[in-house]
């Protein structure tokens, strides 16, 4: 097996870290489903199947300089940018210590200034113009920064995608538009969502490159993303990257995907689950062995278990705190 990661400038440790983050995102996700199905948390929205695309993409950025405006499936991305298992579980339980929103938002509405993650909302794609605005601001201040924003293929139909992309293109801003095309917008399949061949083709309309990539290969995604980020840092403007992935689970805990897709299709996709595939690659190039795999797995499970216990015990925000932070506190 050819060693792809060295050629990309990634060290052995870095790809092991990639694996760790992918696994962590998956295990947290699975734990949240279990908690939901056992009645402990009311809502989960999931990322299973998309970890490779997310982690591969996130690694191309500079976590000390860049900002991200993710969407609600980006567990892998925000994990790379610093969200811990504990953070995820606190958010799932809506506890006061949740760094995203203090329990005010549903889980997976990521945000955290310390992690350089802009706070997000539920209406889709609104984060795209925000990312453009951050890129504009950074450039106005002469900063070396690139902004990441992501969305699903359904969300790429929103006006905000087109308006934001156009603005970014006109002003040649350092922003990367990352579309995770997982073939379904809840229940609506790609064929009913989009008329063009590929989302990436839309970039032509906005004057910048559009690139398609296999979202199940984290190194491929990394390669393409790194190119785009370097381009942006050099002042050459935005890139639209479309990662082809698959959502292995329903849209959220309120969705039943048996209504709109066959079990065979899902099974087939599970055979291409990117996490075991990446583990195989890592073993093939001698970076990972059974022992190390077990170690990483145990480490991840320990973190997830500790996080679950911690979050379940953690206190809720006080009811009266509902009234805080409408405006800056000094003015009432």
């Amino acid at each position: 097996m050819e060693n792809k990661h060295r050629a990309l400038g990634l060290s052995d440790q870095q790809v092991l870290d990639m694996y760790y983050y992918m696994l962590m995102a998956r295990r947290v996700d699975e734990r949240m489903w279990l908690l939901n199905r056992s009645g402990k948390i009311p809502f989960v929205i999931s990322c299973q199947g998309q970890e490779a695309a997310q982690v591969g993409a996130a690694f191309a950025f500079d976590r000390t300089k860049d900002f991200i405006c993710p969407y609600y499936r980006d567990m892998g991305v925000v994990a790379v940018f610093g969200m811990t298992a504990r953070d995820f579980l606190l958010s799932a339980f809506a506890k006061a210590e949740d760094p995203n929103s203090g329990g005010r938002q549903m889980p997976s509405h990521f945000g955290g200034k310390k992690y350089r993650i802009l706070t997000g909302s539920s209406p889709v794609t609104t984060q795209l113009p925000h990312a453009v605005g951050m890129a504009l601001a950074g450039r106005m201040e002469g900063k070396d920064l690139v902004v990441y924003t992501s969305f699903g293929e359904g969300s790429s139909n929103q006006g905000d995608f087109h308006e934001g992309a156009n603005f970014a293109g006109v002003h040649k801003l350092p922003v990367i538009l990352f579309c995770q095309n997982n073939k379904y917008a809840i229940s609506v399949p790609l064929s009913k969502q989009v008329a063009c061949e590929s989302i990436a083709d839309r970039a032509i309309g906005y004057g910048f490159p559009g690139v398609r990539v296999n979202g199940n290969d984290p190194l491929e995604v990394y390669r393409v993303m790194k190119q785009a980020v370097d381009r942006a840092r050099a002042g050459d403007g935005p890139t639209l990257i479309e990662a082809e992935t698959y959502r292995l689970v329903p849209h959220s805990s309120d969705d039943d995907d048996r209504a709109y897709r066959s079990r065979e299709e899902v099974e087939e996709a599970k055979n291409k689950d990117p996490i075991p595939l990446f583990a195989n690659y890592l073993k093939a190039v001698g970076v990972l062995n059974e022992k190390k795999e077990r170690e990483i797995s145990e480490k991840v499970m320990d973190e997830v278990n500790e996080a679950t216990i911690y979050a379940e015990k953690a206190p809720y925000p006080s009811p009266e705190s509902t009234l805080l932070h409408v405006y800056e506190e000094k003015q009432k």
Partner: protein, 327 residues
Amino acid sequence: MAMISYIEAVTQALREEMLRDQRVFILGEDVGVRGGVFRATAGLYEEFGESRVIDAPLAESAIAGVAIGAAAYGMRPIAEMQFADFIMTAVNQIVNEAAKMRYRSNGDWNCPVVIRAPYGGGVHGALYHSQSIEAMFCNVPGLKVVAPSTPYDVKGLLRSAIHDNDPVLFLEHKRCYRLIKGEVPDTDYTVPIGKAEIKRDGSDLTVFAYGLMFHYVMQAAEKLALEGVQTQVVDVRTLYPLDRETIIAAAKSTGKVLIVHEDNKEGGLGSEISAVIAEECLFDLDAPIKRLCGPDVPAMPYSPPMEKFFMLGPDKIYLAMKELAEF
């Protein structure tokens, strides 16, 4: 002190704040080279360059959204909606994003954006260049809505809006742009957001107004004074959140209240002011609370007699005030 027009007050405030703080910048349609279709940003492109006075593509949601992102980052953007009538596509960004950013992040992020929009009629603008849209935004906690009436307040409030660490919707009455002139000092003064002002005192009746209507009310008050009626006129200034304290004190002082606004009657700002007064001032009311407003039709039509019918003029206002005074 200089005597300047309402629109000059806008330009001056923008210019002085851009000089004072590098983080302040403007974006909108035609704001740069053209200086704005009303020329509110005249001269700023020449002085500050295209990087700080940005001619944005024709997309209101992006204009708002990009400004919101830049504000969250830490800049002080001022986004212009060319006409308030076109703000609708940006409502999602303003209401769901800007207004809720601080609250949803539990105080971690905030959004110090200003969104300016010319509103109001009397310029033969018809249905889509004359609307008053304030009521739609005046129950969005996290947002502030400001509508000054005089050049002094325009400059002071725009400065305050730019300094404010929360999003402010800054509504400018387009008919007032060149019609209204006033004295404006060249000091660094600001006018606080959240405070109404009693611009004329009197003991016979209290009239609440803002925008162009404020000036018509003042004219009518002058006329009534010659007949021995003393009108207390309150310039609302901040439409949301309302200055309940001033509203209550003013209503209690005369017991007779008239609210005048150009916007449609049902669901307009008069409803909220009336409710506050009804809740707090029942035993000081000497007459039912009155509202004189635009009729409940979608917007003012183009044809002159129809526009005139819709708009409140000094005569209609005078008659309503007189009737209340005599009640």
